[in-house]
Symmetry: C2
Subunit: 134 residues, 2 copies
DNA sequence: AGGTAATTAGAGTAAAATTGTCTTAAATTT
DNA sequence: AAATTTAAGACAATTTTACTCTAATTACCT
């Protein structure tokens, strides 16, 4: 699963937010889209930290898009929400159980690198504009 | 993570198997590649069920490639090993918690379908030959 | 035919990631 | 100051991944 529930919620939220002139609060979004409030709040926080959303605290606060939708890519959204870029396969987390003791003499490692590049390119090529107008 | 540990083990095994004239047993593979034996056995079983490997029981048995490496795609391997095709995001398993009560009036569903098609095309375009010669 | 080497099948366990909750603090508006 | 709303972090539940074990079956080989 390249896209998780968190990313799904992020995309649905971003679509809702972009249609509003005013900031949208986490609770309002949660009600409108039927997404668990606390979970959604975390997701929105992450989007704000990565400069995709602007967050405004206090009464009448909420979230607003920080960039134009053509300038936000799926790559950025997934990276923000998931806390790390979307990975095809992460060798680095298997250093202690790697059958080949590192990618140096691994027969499939070159492929994995290449494949990752293709996925990255695909994710970079898809802007929020593309996503929400399909 | 589009590729799991099971698929990694499958690819490493397929590379090992294709280099041998004789059938390779699960235990031999497990020793050679340092992969947990029982786990690997399951993976090989799945590859055999999906007609990627031929399995030969009894003494001097083991696994042999069933097709030429150019005729096995990454799509098939992942589907065989994982038990289902690689999915970008599976709406169908969220029927009871879908914020939009089904893809009919979902703003991102069209994109998801489109994105899935691109991933499928990519997975279909990569043969074992491509993978192991990179 | 009998013994052994291997796969097959399926239940079951352990570890890790995802998904979701709660509570408290901080900031902003009115 | 009071009300509203985000921020942060610890925590719990659920699901998926990773892996194990045992028993059964099949085929080779002498
Ligand atoms: S074996 Fe190859 S793919 Fe698997 S972890 Fe080691 S390097 Fe990465
Ligand atoms: S909301 Fe859209 S994407 Fe999320 S589950 Fe329902 S249909 Fe699929």
């Amino acid at each position: 699963m390249l896209i998780t529930r968190a990313t799904e919620y992020a995309l649905l939220s971003l679509d809702y937010i972009r249609k509003s002139e005013y900031p949208i609060g986490a609770e309002q979004l949660s009600d409108a889209l039927n997404i668990p409030k606390s979970f959604l709040a975390k997701i929105l926080q992450n989007l704000a930290k990565k400069e995709i959303l602007i967050s405004k605290k206090g009464a009448k606060g909420g979230f607003v898009l920080q960039k134009e939708i053509k300038d936000v890519t799926l790559f950025d959204i997934v990276a923000a929400v998931e806390g790390r870029p979307a990975m095809v396969f992460d060798c680095t987390q298997y250093t202690d159980t790697c059958p080949n003791n590192g990618p140096k003499n691994c027969t499939i490692s070159p492929f994995l690198v290449n494949f990752q590049k293709k996925i990255d390119a695909l994710l970079h090529s898809l802007s929020l504009e593309d996503i929400l107008s399909e």
